[in-house]
Amino acid sequence: MRGTDFISELEASIEGSLVGRDLEAVDPWLEIAADKILETCRWLKESCEIRFDGLQCITAIDWFEPDPKKASKVKWEPHTEVVYHLWSTKARASLVLKVKLPRWQGNEPGKLPELSSVVSVWRGADWHEREVFDLSGVQFNGHPDLRRILCPEDWEGYPLRKDYEMPLEYHGMRGR
């Protein structure tokens, strides 16, 4: 990421979107409020001077420690983090956006955390969001066709969550 001018512009354009930042990290990142992500992404693609016209990757990280012994030592609260890697063809620059979500919506196990889909901004987000939904369990609102993509459609659970357990049996096949 070259140049940081656009960050203040972003703050001015979309109020309350930027909730945190770390510009000293190996990959500097901005933290965006969960309800502003679609707006922010659209602004970054269409209005920002460095047009971030490409979406490289969407990742969800499950910050959760299933082991109670270790869990008492960790410094963070359990949450799910969605990371967007953007790319600008014009500036040959990339940008990292992070969004913090609860692990379950309203701390109600089984209710997926919700986030606005960015498919309307980058069409390439389609499959990436499906993969995040499939493996990490994040509900993308406004996605045209949110289905499992890598796992079978009747698969249960979200394999990349830390508390996921492989099913004992799947259609008569032994799982463990």
Binding site: C57, D62, R123, G124, P152
Partner: protein, 402 residues
Amino acid sequence: MVQTLDEDQRIIEFDVRTDEMLVNMGPQHPSTHGVLRLVLRTDGEIVSELEPHIGYLHRCAEKIGENLTARQWIPYTDRMDYLAAMNMNLGWSLAVEKLLRYQVSEKARHLRVLIVELNRIASHLVGMGAYGLDLGTFSPFLYAFREREKILDLYEEVCGARLTYSYITVGGMTADLPPGWLQRCEAFLDQFEPIIQEYHTLLTTNAIFVKRTATIGVLSPEMAIDYGCTGPVLRGSGVDIDLRRDGESIYTAMYDGYAFEVAVMKNGHYPRDHKYPAVPKDAVLGDCWHRFFVRMLEVVQSMDLVRQSIDRYSQCKGALGEPLKLAEKLPAGDTYLETECPKGQMGFYLVTDGTPIPWRVRARSSSFSNLAVSPELCRGCLIADVPAVVGSLDVVMGEIDR
């Protein structure tokens, strides 16, 4: 989202319309490059809608990565793009090195260029041969494999493996080159160079091949960027991006001092196109032919880079250096790095919490994004064009499903 038949201009109109038929192409099908399943909605021979279904080769590589140290995960990267495993090794190694802020020795740098560029040739050879197969000609496939076999022989000498190498690793290489290897590699390049013309005769300039690929599956630059297409697919649409030149500094530093020209059409010309067949009249920028031709040019480009790296490597004094410990402690943080692999930009994202075992590993595969654009390219084409379009994207299922 999906346009109906009547709206799309590209669909050939017929007076008689019959009932639509759903056809499953794959997962067991000769031309889907592995276990890809394409569901075609067809009206006679015309495909009105195509939907790829993936996941038949899902091996949970990312989950496995959360249980292994960074170096232990190297063999799993091999199995992503198994046709260009060296490039996968390099991508992951560089991502970890970026997090560690580690720099490999000068000798290892040149050796890495040598190895990955040779692998790019091998990968494009398979891509080219398999594309011929998709269009119904078998012989170029075997011509391509004949040459690839020699590259694999060279690799076998280097690391003992022919497909899944695990040769490039975090902090350097697992071993140095065996004696006399560079001469054998040069001999291969000398012998291989004239053969490229043969490929051009058989495929690139063949009248039927041009008829089957030109103006088929035209991908506009805007759509390519919008879908996150990368590599030869993006350059075939005329977008001048190659991470070896435009990427992050840790990656471009590897190619520091190397002379190469990005294989992309500028002002209606490809670099050094006087040496290679002219672009046929029918071909439109962004169609299957251009994607194919970019790969063919990259073979030549990689050969050049290999020659340069042989010179540099042999001039390098000093030791190659040892790779990092198997369980090297990783500082807490996260990093993402994309490298230019034969199929496109392969990204590795790594989140660590201070232990040797990463907290989260993510592989962003190029074929994944490249394949995502196929429903757009295949709308309104004929059934015979589906293998032509999907083949020109040159996808590897190991990388898509991970």
